[in-house]
């Protein structure tokens, strides 16, 4: 009897933990909402991108090929729907507060708040999340993979200079 109850409790807690928020579940929840721009790139598409000839990538201003091969998923949501911005913000923060993320940067400027979080080890990043809140826009970006921290920093810095 006690063993049965214990097994049931373990099963229920496992199912609850699986249902915890992640980038995919947040994307699934809000991607079809009105006034929400959504972009998803799957692991399979990243593998295809990795096989692109260099000529195709050379046309762009920055070379992302080094990091593309290490990405497993990219979720981008940009919401101009004031009705869901609050909920999107709360879900994103609930996702961050699972414990594995640490705050990398917080910027408050001209009414916009940008929070950047990463998860991983000292030299590698397994997940990168950016949450930007303006008056009428909420942006959520989640990158999953196994990225070198230095490479990621170099690419972000390089992307700003190449504009």
């Amino acid at each position: 009897m006690k063993k049965t109850l214990l097994a049931i409790l373990i099963l229920i807690s496992a199912s609850v933990s699986v249902s915890a928020q992640d980038g995919k579940s947040i994307y699934n929840k809000y991607s079809d909402s009105e006034n929400v721009s959504a972009v998803y790139i799957s692991p399979a598409m990243f593998r295809l991108i990795g096989r692109l000839p260099e000529t195709a990538m050379r046309g762009s201003s920055m070379d992302f090929s080094s990091i593309v091969s290490n990405l497993r998923g990219m979720y981008v949501l940009e919401s101009k729907n004031s009705n869901i911005n609050n909920n999107l913000r709360k879900d994103a923060l609930k996702f961050i507060n699972t414990g594995k993320y640490e705050l990398l940067m917080e910027v408050k400027d001209n009414g916009e708040t940008v929070n950047v979080f990463t998860a991983g080890k000292d030299d590698s990043v397994s997940s990168f999340v950016l949450i930007a809140n303006e008056e009428d826009t909420c942006t959520f970006i989640c990158l999953d993979g196994n990225m070198s921290r230095k490479q990621l920093e170099r690419i972000i810095a390089g992307a700003s200079q190449s504009k």
Binding site: M1, L11, I12, I41, M45, M62, A159
Partner: protein
């Protein structure tokens, strides 16, 4: 009442006859009480089994719904378009973080000055 020695001397058949012939008084209401206890136990076990079954089915349904929700559909069919989107996304990330990095670099001279004063005082 027989002695123990007499009982030990009796054969198995004699003991069986003695048992069949002896009359043991059954307390009143024992049968009804036993039946009530048995039916209570059966109801309790049925309740526990049904509860356990319901909990397992609920947990299984939750897991099935979550697993079947599946991966979203790729936004692009063309890897080159997807690559262009990656570039745009990193530009967006960079532009959002740029202001913070600018503030840090603007604060750097003030931090260096403070460090200089502090180090001079220590000397």
């Amino acid at each position: 009442m027989k002695n123990i020695e007499d009982i030990e001397k009796m054969s198995v058949r004699e003991l069986e006859c003695a048992a069949e012939n002896s009359r043991v008084e059954i307390p009143g209401g024992l049968k009804a009480g036993l039946e009530r206890a048995i039916s209570r136990e059966i109801r309790r076990r049925t309740f526990v089994r049904c509860g356990a079954g319901a909990a397992i089915v609920t947990a299984a349904c939750i897991m099935a719904v979550i697993l079947m929700s599946g991966n979203p559909k790729d936004s692009f069919n063309d890897p080159e378009e997807a690559y262009a989107q990656i570039e745009k996304t990193f530009s967006l990330i960079s532009s959002k973080m740029e202001r913070g990095l600018e503030i840090v670099s603007n604060a750097e001279p003030a931090v260096e000055k403070t460090n200089g004063i502090y180090n001079n005082k220590r000397i």
